[in-house]
């Protein structure tokens, strides 16, 4: 028994077990939950948050936090809709949104690495800045983005799988590869674990910091394009509060907020837990007020269990 639990802990299976338990419970409570159509439905619904949370994982492992994700998403989405309206090709619009996100994220990184501003404060500033910029650009109105090729990004299918799910799966794999199989990723762990030690052993902490925020921004840009495509319009208030869902997914996935440990696969599980809860409580017709309370309780339980494990070392 003890061996098994130790193994589970070593491979950080806690979140996954939690997800499976929640799924079993929901399957027992509703015959509408565990159907192929609903599973795809959930997968599509969690795509956006998963993308943001994957970028957030890089940031949190490096010991930082990014509050500006929702605003950068809205900004990139609005500019993408504007570009589409001026007749630019779908592929280029997608690239454009990603570049806008990358630029926004890089700005965060520069402020934090070279401007020496605490991540919380820096990204709080850019969160407000990009929200303002979005409102200025959109004049506070949704910008329509109706174009068949473009709308296929968020609303289409590749075979039976919704396109956003495929894009997200590819991004999760790439992120996992960069973080766990490349030097640039290993350095993120080093910086988050012990910055001084990392610097002494030759890691350029400033580079790593700019890198993680740039990754987060890139994910926001991509998510912004997908959301705009799915809603056939760029909403000026899009992404409000999404930073909290992204952080929640990372935390549920077992990544520690103090930095230095964690991973994108756990984050994927965390995002799925949130998505499955939202969908399941919807299907069970639980009032939305209770849904929020339940979500909060689940996050607290996860963190409590995580802390108990951490305390054991």
């Amino acid at each position: 028994m003890r061996d098994l639990l130790d193994k589970l802990r070593r491979y950080r299976m806690g979140p996954l077990i939690g997800l499976v338990l929640i799924c079993i419970a929901l399957t027992l409570m509703s015959d509408r939950f565990f159907t192929p159509a609903n599973i795809l439905n959930i997968a599509r619904q969690v795509s956006i948050n998963t993308l943001l949370a994957v970028g957030m994982t890089f940031v949190i492992i490096s010991g930082g936090i990014d509050l500006s994700v929702g605003s950068i998403l809205a900004f990139a989405g609005a500019l993408a809709a504007g570009a589409l309206a001026s007749g630019i090709d779908t592929g280029l619009v997608l690239l454009y949104a990603c570049l806008i996100g990358l630029a926004g994220g890089t700005l965060n990184g520069l402020l934090i690495a070279y401007g020496r501003i605490a991540p919380f404060v820096a990204t709080l500033g850019t969160m407000t800045l990009f929200r303002g910029a979005t409102l200025i650009y959109t004049e506070g109105r949704p910008i329509r983005a109706v174009e068949e090729g473009f709308n296929a990004i968020g609303g289409g299918y590749l075979g039976p799988i919704p396109t956003p799910v495929v894009i997200t799966a590819v991004m999760v794999f790439l992120a996992w590869f960069v973080l766990n199989r490349m030097t640039v990723g290993r350095r993120v762990f080093a910086v988050g674990g012990n910055e001084e030690a990392a610097v002494l052993s030759g890691v350029k902490a400033t580079y790593s910091k700019v890198f993680v925020y740039a990754v987060s921004g890139l994910m926001c840009g991509l998510a912004g394009a997908i959301l705009t495509s799915r809603l056939m319009s760029a909403q000026p208030t899009a992404g409000a509060g999404y930073e909290l869902d992204a952080i929640a997914a990372v935390v549920l996935g077992g990544t520690s907020l103090s930095g230095g440990q964690g991973g994108v696969l756990g984050t994927l599980v965390g995002a799925l837990i949130i998505g499955v809860l939202d969908n399941g409580l919807n299907i069970l017709n639980v009032s939305s007020f209770y849904q929020q309370a339940v979500k909060g309780i689940v996050i607290l339980i996860a963190v409590l269990l995580d802390r108990r494990n951490a305390a054991r070392g």
Binding site: R32, Q45, T138, G140, M232, Q235, L281, N282, N285, S288
Partner: protein, 313 residues
């Protein structure tokens, strides 16, 4: 071992809490096929997707729908999107998964919900829109107050109260919502033709009470000699009222919606008037229309719901 028992009891305890919450949230479990009374008529299930339940107006709409559903013995499934278009798309998808007979949609945004309406069309579930329309997909009927004529009612009242001369401020709703657009348009269509009346300030306060207060405070700094204020909804008007009372200003204050708080404020002479919508009636007519649609009866494509100006009598 003790540790695991503790952890397990924590999980079980919290699941118990969640269960209790879900249980007392007033949602009845769907009757299992086995327990169904052997009557041939299937109970009609209506899904209602509301833009937010943080606003008494939409709570009234839900209550009206609930009362009408109870009357005809239909089951009502309520969704609350918290003013987020993307969340609402997910909730409509979840209603489609539950195979409801008909969806009453009160969209957070006209463009953003087109994809969701199209999905309902694909699943052959009829859609009726409430209060706001959608700009695409097949909607069988649109039930709403005539906001433009409501704006005119407000303008007419302001012009008469000021004897055609004075300075007016306007607190606008969330930019980009059709309600804000139409109310503003109706209001300006009469006010702008008055030579002696000037709209000296026009600021969005997002249909929100606390924002209404701060925006009003700011406007009073620049325009201390205002004589009238028109707000696109009651929540903002009640916020503005706080600011006006604090500044000891007694001006003509007109709200919009006719919610309980505002009507009380009008009776007490704190507000001059409110253009009353009848959200309960919108919800009620929504469910009645839904019943007609499910019974394959003909319904009108547009069903206007009357507005009335409430003043202190």
């Amino acid at each position: 071992m003790k540790r695991y028992l503790k952890a397990a009891s924590l999980v079980v305890g919290s699941l118990f809490i969640v269960g209790m919450l879900a249980g007392c949230s007033g949602s009845k479990e769907p009757p299992k096929p086995a327990e169904k009374p052997a009557d041939s008529t299937k109970q009609m299930t209506v899904g209602i997707a509301l833009s937010t339940l943080n606003n008494p107006f939409f709570v009234d709409m839900r209550d009206g729908a609930q009362a009408a559903a109870d009357k005809i013995g239909a089951k009502l499934i309520v969704m609350d999107a918290q003013d987020d278009a993307s969340k609402q798309v997910s909730q409509v998808e979840n209603l489609i998964q539950q195979k409801v007979d008909i969806i009453l949609l009160n969209p957070t945004d006209s463009d953003g919900l087109v994809a969701a309406v199209k999905e309902a069309n694909k699943a052959n579930i009829p859609v009726i829109t409430l209060d706001r329309s959608v700009s695409g997909g097949d909607v069988i009927s649109h039930i709403a107050s005539d906001n433009v004529s409501g704006g005119k009612l407000a303008a007419d009242f302001v012009i008469k109260s000021l004897n055609g001369k004075g300075k007016v401020a306007e607190l606008e709703g969330i930019a980009g919502t059709s309600a804000a657009r139409d109310r503003g348009q109706g209001f300006h269509s009469l006010i702008d033709s008055e030579k002696e009346i000037k709209v000296v300030a026009k600021q969005p306060a997002d249909f929100n009470r606390s924002k209404g207060m701060t925006v009003m405070e700011n406007i009073l700094q620049s325009q201390p000699d205002l004589q009238a204020v028109f707000c696109h909804n009651d929540e903002m008007a009640l916020g503005a009222l706080q600011a006006l009372q604090a500044a000891k200003k007694n001006v003509i204050l007109v709200g919009f919606d006719g919610g309980a708080d505002a009507v009380k404020a009008v009776q007490e002479g704190k507000m001059s008037a409110t253009v009353a919508q009848q959200p309960k009636l919108i919800g009620e007519i929504g469910v009645q229309t839904a019943e007609k649609v499910v019974k394959k009866e003909k319904v009108e494509a547009k069903i206007p719901v009357a507005l009335k100006l409430i003043t202190k009598q």
